[in-house]
């Protein structure tokens, strides 16, 4: 796959929850191996859009989804699509870290274990590799069997990232992944995103404009369930074409 083919391609996506029309006629291409940020005011539908990419949206009560989301050219809403396979392609980093109720080691090993029967030796290598990739190895290597809940919240979030990377995804989805973190941990996570885009396509939902500016290559501005503007970060932030985007960037719409 070349860098010019979109990794995720959304076509005419409409999402209703109950009788609310949450996402309206969304069509967008998410580029390969770039960081794309979805910004917009609270309740505009940005998290819903993100969750439509790995079909976590399916678990919402009274949800109705129409349209297509193509990942690597395959429609994930096709009734025959293998949902666990789709989700395996995407690591999710949620707002607050949710480590699984098990040890640090088992958290990272969870994904590889459900997808196969890795040998203990291979698993050890993999766990170390992912913990190193998220800069956690030095901090936890002596207490891998300790409960993951004993880690600080910033460490937990990096553990969740390591856990996601361990299933070998292509895409990382971040849902305001730093909003519960202190500034130092936020910085670590942001730098990880920039590092990781070498190998992964990254989509982030954020309400922090400075964060979008720091880490992303492209920005999607969503307002009231519609995509208002999409473009390269600098262009969208410094020279927005749409009036709504201008107002949001200047802080008139919250």
């Amino acid at each position: 796959m070349t860098n010019t083919t979109p990794h995720i391609s959304v076509q005419d996506l409409n999402v209703h929850i109950g009788n609310q029309h949450i996402l309206k006629n969304i069509s967008i291409d998410i580029p390969n191996k770039k960081v794309t940020s979805i910004i917009g005011p609270s309740g505009c539908g940005k998290t819903t859009l993100l969750k439509s990419f790995n079909r976590l949206l399916d678990n919402t009560a009274d949800v109705k989804i129409t349209g297509k989301v193509l990942v690597d050219g395959e429609d994930i809403y096709d009734p025959n699509a293998e949902i666990t396979h789709i989700r395996k392609k995407m690591g999710l980093l949620s707002q607050r870290p949710y480590p699984l109720p098990m040890s640090i080691y088992d958290n990272v090993a969870y994904g590889p274990r459900i997808h196969g029967n890795p040998k203990k030796k291979d698993l050890d290598i993999l766990v170390e590799q992912q913990l190193r990739a998220t800069g956690l190895w030095g901090e936890v290597k002596d207490r891998l069997n300790a409960s993951a809940t004993r880690l600080s919240i910033g460490q937990q979030q990096r553990l969740c990232l390591a856990r996601g990377l361990a299933v070998n995804p292509e895409i990382i989805l971040g849902d305001e992944s730093t909003s519960a973190l202190d500034p130092v941990s936020t910085n670590i996570i942001e730098n990880l995103f920039i590092e990781l885009k070498e190998k992964y396509s990254i989509v982030l939902v954020t309400h922090i404009l400075r964060q979008a500016a720091r880490v992303s290559d492209y920005i999607i501005f969503v307002y009231m369930g519609e995509i208002i503007e999409y473009g390269p970060t600098k262009e969208l932030l410094h020279n927005p074409k749409e009036k709504l985007t201008q107002e949001y960037v200047k802080g008139y719409i919250v």
Partner: protein, 282 residues
């Protein structure tokens, strides 16, 4: 200003009084059982079945009822869990995007929860008559299972609902199937499962009406599922109805035994809850 202070004082006093009433009645009940039962509490009570003259105050004990109650309440709790855990998981993990059906099911279990135990007893009895079964350990266990399933399902349901949806999503987004995600949720609620077991076992072992027709009563320890079985609540009921002081005293001793059994189960489950809360998030 003064009005606010009076209000604060009034409600604080009310809360303290209410707490005193509850704790006070606890000690009153336990105290009564101890003072009336302890004099009749002999080793024979817990090691022997009723002898020939037991019901006129002679030799024997209530071992038949202790064993019968443990069999029935224990068996019903195990059977109940086998049925309730899948139901609770199904409602929460599979029907979670269909609010109408899951809420309907919750209402059904709330109604079942509220049905008096005598109705379960009568229903169990009808089924037994239909199949030509006699009052037996099996019949009693089934009736008590029916009785405690709503307790188990609703308790487990409430516990599962306290698990953040994001934990389930975390497992799902790693490519887990819904059942694999459910297993993660079950790990998280393991302490809650012990609470459910405690409540269900407590209700099962203390109930008279559901076992009255279905388990029957016997002075022997049942050796098969088809033999009738005694239970502690029924033993207390029969002994209390006796005009003989000795037998009445033994009723309190039996009540003491029942209380101690429940106490042991409570302590045991609290121990397990502590032990398995290690990895629990949040």
């Amino acid at each position: 200003m003064i009005k606010r202070k009076i209000e604060e004082y009034f409600f604080k006093t009310l809360m303290i009084l209410a707490t005193i009433i509850v704790v006070g009645s606890f000690f009153l009940i336990v105290g009564t059982i101890f003072s009336k039962g302890l004099p009749y509490m002999t080793l024979d009570m817990v090691t022997k079945v009723p002898g020939g003259g037991f019901y006129i105050g002679k030799e024997g004990g209530v071992l038949n009822a202790i064993i019968g109650s443990l069999y029935i309440a224990g068996g019903a709790t195990v059977l109940g869990l086998i049925i309730s855990i899948p139901v609770a998981i199904y409602i929460n993990m599979y029907l979670n995007n269909k609010n109408f059906i899951s809420n309907l099911l919750r209402t059904v279990f709330d109604v079942l929860f509220g049905i008096p135990s005598i109705v379960y007893g009568a229903f169990g009895f009808l089924i037994m008559v239909y199949f030509g079964l006699r009052a037996s350990l099996l019949g009693g266990t089934i009736a008590v299972t029916l009785l405690i399933i709503p307790v188990l399902v609703r308790t487990l349901d409430e516990v599962i609902r306290t698990v953040p949806g994001e934990l389930r999503d975390a497992a799902l987004s790693l490519g887990a199937t819904r059942w694999e995600a459910a297993k993660v949720v079950l790990r998280q609620i393991r302490p809650g499962i012990y609470t459910a077991i405690l409540l269900a076992f407590g209700r099962g072992i203390g109930d008279v009406a559901s076992v009255l027709f279905t388990a029957g009563f016997s002075d022997n320890i049942p050796t098969s599922l088809h033999e009738p079985a005694a239970t502690l609540p029924l033993a207390i009921f029969f002994q209390l109805g006796s005009p003989i002081a000795e037998v009445q005293g033994r009723a309190y001793a039996s009540a003491l035994i029942l209380t101690i059994v429940v106490l042991i189960i409570t302590l045991l489950s609290e121990l397990l809850i502590k032990k398995f809360s290690k990895h629990k998030i949040g």
